[in-house]
């Protein structure tokens, strides 16, 4: 099957790889926010991780050590955030922003002299033969280990948060730091560890950009991925598998962007697919908003869901297969889509219903 010049198998395989940086960073931030901390410095930690990973990999020749370096770099930067917010009780929003500005500066300073160098290649994990299987091969077996690692981490974070005592304590601290303190838990210490985990994950995500996606060193290489990761956490309602879904959606947009730059336009089928996903999210959002007192939202949800296929059918009937979209507009698509999805997911619901940790963004100080 062919969607106007774009191969869906390649697209899906591509989006799994494109999604890795935002998926890892968003998973880390999920844990951080579940513990009640809002770290807006994800972009900074990612870009520092990208540099740390790149430099380590170039000097050691080992991509694996490179990712470790990225993790360490991200965690070190997040340590600044942890110290400021957990020890000095600084405002989390301001500190997070400062972290991003600082991270961008440091990475651009430290990255001088690395422009134009090729990092060592991150090889595929499984034998080439497996990847050669039609359809399933590229999607299931053709990736490097970091792609599998990101999926494994999704499962791990989900399991730890849901089923382990550590996860329970993290959730408890994020829910009510006063109660947790009264029971004798070290609120700030637990949060500090979560922040470091978030930093390491963002760092690995950043390293994947500079070692596998691009792969070279450019100033500001992460180009806003950290902010998208933050947005994904919100509209995933702080749940790991939904983070994966959100990351793959944006990964899909990113992969599509590359494809379209080659083929020159968006195939109608793909456009319909995006519209369908957006429509589905919107419909879910609308259904959630409807209360027994306001049931009139249900028809709206159905209508919204019906529009994309309708447009597609009409388009097909008229013989349109591809829609030309200027590159500039496509490059702002992830950001516009993020806003749209954020609006849908946050509309009409209180803090409790969104699943936001109750202490999110508040500092804890044990007074008396």
């Amino acid at each position: 099957m062919d969607f106007g010049g774009i191969n869906p198998v390649i697209l899906i395989a591509g989006l799994m790889a494109t999604a890795v940086p935002i998926l890892l960073a968003a998973l880390g931030e999920t844990v951080v926010e579940r513990s009640g901390v809002l770290n807006l410095g994800v972009e900074g930690m990612m870009v520092i991780g990208a540099l740390g990973g790149f430099v380590t990999a170039v000097h050691t020749g080992s991509p694996a050590l490179g990712f470790l370096g990225g993790a360490v770099a991200g965690a070190l930067l997040s340590l600044i955030f942890a110290a400021l917010t957990q020890v000095f009780l600084a405002n989390q929003v301001a500190t997070g922003l400062a972290l991003t500005l600082f991270g961008l500066g440091v990475s651009s300073l430290g990255g001088q002299g690395y422009n134009g160098i090729k990092p060592p290649h991150t090889p595929g994990l499984l034998p080439e033969a497996l990847a050669g299987i039609p359809v399933a091969g590229p999607i299931l077996f053709g990736h490097d280990w970091v792609v599998y690692f990101s999926i494994a981490m999704t499962a791990l974070v989900w399991w730890v948060l849901k089923a382990t005592r550590i996860g329970l304590i993290i959730r408890a601290v994020g829910e009510s730091h006063d109660s947790a303190h009264a029971l004798g838990y070290k609120v700030n210490r637990i949060r500090l560890l979560c922040i470091l985990f978030g930093g390491a994950m963002a760092g690995i995500g950043g390293a994947y950009v500079s070692l596998a996606r691009v792969p070279q060193w450019v100033d500001g290489i992460t180009a806003g991925a950290g902010w998208i990761a933050l947005a994904i956490v919100v509209f995933a309602s702080w749940r790991p598998w939904r983070v994966l879904a959100g990351a793959y959606f944006f990964g899909g947009i990113g992969a599509l962007q590359l494809n379209v730059q080659v083929s020159g336009g968006i195939p109608l089928g793909i456009l319909g697919l995006i519209a369908l996903v957006c429509g589905a999210i919107l419909a879910v959002g609308l259904l959630r908003r409807s209360t027994p007192e306001r049931p009139q939202m249900h028809p709206a949800a159905v209508a919204v869901l019906a529009v994309p296929p309708l447009v597609w059918v009409v388009g097909l009937a008229m013989g349109v297969t591809q829609i030309k979209v200027p590159v500039e507009y496509l490059s702002m698509a992830p950001f516009v889509l993020t806003i749209v999805v954020l609006v849908i997911m946050s509309s009409g619901r209180g803090k409790a219903a969104t699943g936001a940790p109750a202490s999110l963004g508040q500092n804890f100080h044990a007074s008396r």
Binding site: E175, S179, L183, R368
Partner: protein, 521 residues
């Protein structure tokens, strides 16, 4: 309370010693919370720690539970030195605590909440089974899978108690456990506590409610300003005797002169609003009227819509215009400023962050709700001199102890800040006054003063609504009485001849007991 079982006091003294507290002193900057406190708790004894708000009870038990460290003095548990560095250590040595403000997590379920309070919790499935078993054994029905945010205050307390019981404690500390319970729920709790005591668990019971202590406790240690002033057997003393030991002077009940009721000043009809608070209670078809010169007391266990009612009356929650009428003008659609202009002032319960901005000065806090009626702004520009004068006026009239009007609100003690905030609303000459918890956390003398001024305003012709969880307070000030229960208000009735049993029934009896009957059946 009925069903008192007099314990044999000779047997009580014969029991072995469990916890001995000797010469404990703890000072905070500016206040000495405990000074040279000593007492002894025996196994299976129900021991009361009695004292006013601020007498040092909470600090004392926090030290026993390892949350706070004493400056000097020592404790022994079964003869061995006892100095827990953290609650986990206290729990391991058999000391459990049920907090006054629960240490619970609303978005987690009962079993998870229990697990968080245990050192080595069993797997969730096993834990759930044990919760069920213990809750049946002690007559405290509880479903381990329910979200704590959806539970009533009484049920939440059961979570805390069961959390302690699963650790098989030798000493159970209960901090003001009955302030959130209906009279019927108090009975259930006492039954459980007596059963525990029979099985040999000692209970340290913190309260300022004298009748409860007389009904439940074997021994009472009375604290005043951080010092032990007496140790007695509560059953041998009258409530009045103990009250005077606790307060240190004899108390005057407030004077009230029942004037003629005037025309209706506040009318609420069929008011339903959704709660803006997570896990809050929505108001359902609330209707009542208050006349000039009348005080309406609204009782109810915390979390049954009190906060929402205050928001709906103050104007922070709007409704259809006709649902709320102030002096027969439709006001439901008005915001707080417009309602103040129309003659209604309100005092929310939470002093820190709702009624007052803690980091702002008293002057700025005087402006907070006084701007409209006191004319403190001109064309939007603030008249700081007039605002300061208003703040000073309140400070003088209500005897607020503060270095001056420019200190931050949070620097004042709870009682002093409450006096300031009450004064701020009561001194605006409003025709309708709504107050939620007028004396929460305030010492007896200040509480009496606040109640007196509420009665004075009513005598001057204001219509007053007092929302409170303190039944004694309501019976003291109110002319008519109603109860909020799960967002519904009972029909107000006169306080004349009202009995505790009737009030208990109005409050909806014991919550969640259907489950218990199910289990028994």
């Amino acid at each position: 309370m009925t069903g008192t079982q007099p314990a044999d006091s000779a047997e009580t003294t014969a029991r072995p010693e469990l916890l001995r507290v000797e010469g404990i002193t703890k000072a905070y900057p500016g206040v000495v919370a405990n000074s040279d406190v000593s007492f002894t708790i025996r196994e299976g004894e129900v021991h009361a720690l009695l004292g006013e708000n601020g007498a040092g009870k909470s600090t004392m038990v926090k030290m026993i539970f390892g949350l706070v460290r004493p400056d000097s003095g020592r404790m022994t548990l079964r003869g061995k030195p006892y100095a827990p560095a953290k609650p986990a250590e206290a729990r391991r040595l058999g000391v459990g605590m049920v907090f006054q403000h629960f240490s619970l997590f609303e978005a987690l379920n009962v079993a998870e909440n229990v697990a968080l309070g245990m050192e080595n919790p069993p797997p969730m499935r096993e834990l759930a089974a044990r919760i069920r078993a213990v809750s049946e054994e002690y007559g405290l029905p509880l479903d381990p899978a329910r979200m704590v945010g959806d539970l009533s205050a009484g049920e939440r307390q059961r979570v805390e108690i069961i959390r302690c019981l699963l650790q098989d404690p030798k000493l159970l500390i209960m901090d003001e456990p009955t302030s959130v319970l209906t009279p019927q729920e108090v009975e259930i709790l006492f039954k459980t506590l007596r059963q525990l005591s029979r099985e040999g668990t000692a209970i340290l019971y913190i309260s300022h409610k004298l009748e409860e202590i007389r009904s439940l406790c074997d021994t009472a240690t009375i604290l005043r300003r951080g010092r032990v002033v007496a140790t007695c057997t509560p059953r041998d003393r009258t409530a009045r005797e103990m009250a005077e030991l606790m307060v240190g002077s004899s108390l005057q009940p407030p004077e009230r002169s029942r004037g003629e009721k005037g025309p209706v000043a506040l009318g609420v009809s069929d008011l339903s609003v959704a709660s803006p608070i997570p896990f809050g209670t929505s108001l359902k078809a609330v209707s009542f009227t208050v006349a000039r010169g009348e005080v309406l007391g609204i009782a109810g266990v915390a979390g049954n819509g009190q906060d929402e009612l205050l928001l709906a009356l103050s104007g922070e929650l709007k409704s259809d215009a006709d649902r709320v009428r102030i002096d027969s003008h439709a006001a439901g659609h008005l915001g707080p400023s417009e309602r103040r202009k129309a003659g209604l002032v309100a005092a929310p319960e939470d002093r820190y962050g709702h009624a007052a901005a803690p980091d702002m000065s008293l002057v700025e806090n005087a402006l907070l709700s006084g701007a409209v009626r006191k004319g403190l702004t001109r064309a939007g520009f603030i008249d700081w001199a007039a605002t300061k004068a208003f703040a000073e006026e309140i400070i003088t009239a209500y005897d607020v102890r503060t270095p001056g009007p420019d200190v931050a609100a949070r620097a004042l003690s709870g009682g002093n800040l409450q006096k300031f905030l009450m004064g701020r609303e009561l001194m605006q000459g409003a025709s309708v006054i709504v107050i939620n918890q007028p004396t929460w956390g305030v010492d007896a003398a200040a509480a009496a003063a606040i109640r007196q001024s509420i009665l004075d305003r009513a005598a001057e012709g204001a219509a007053v609504v007092v929302i409170s969880q303190d039944l004694d307070e309501l019976l003291e000030v109110a002319d008519s009485f109603a109860v909020l229960n799960e967002g519904r208000l009972t029909r107000p009735r006169s306080t004349d001849g009202l009995t505790m049993e009737e009030i208990g029934l109005m409050m909806g009896g014991a919550h969640g007991m259907e489950v218990a009957h199910h289990a028994e059946a």
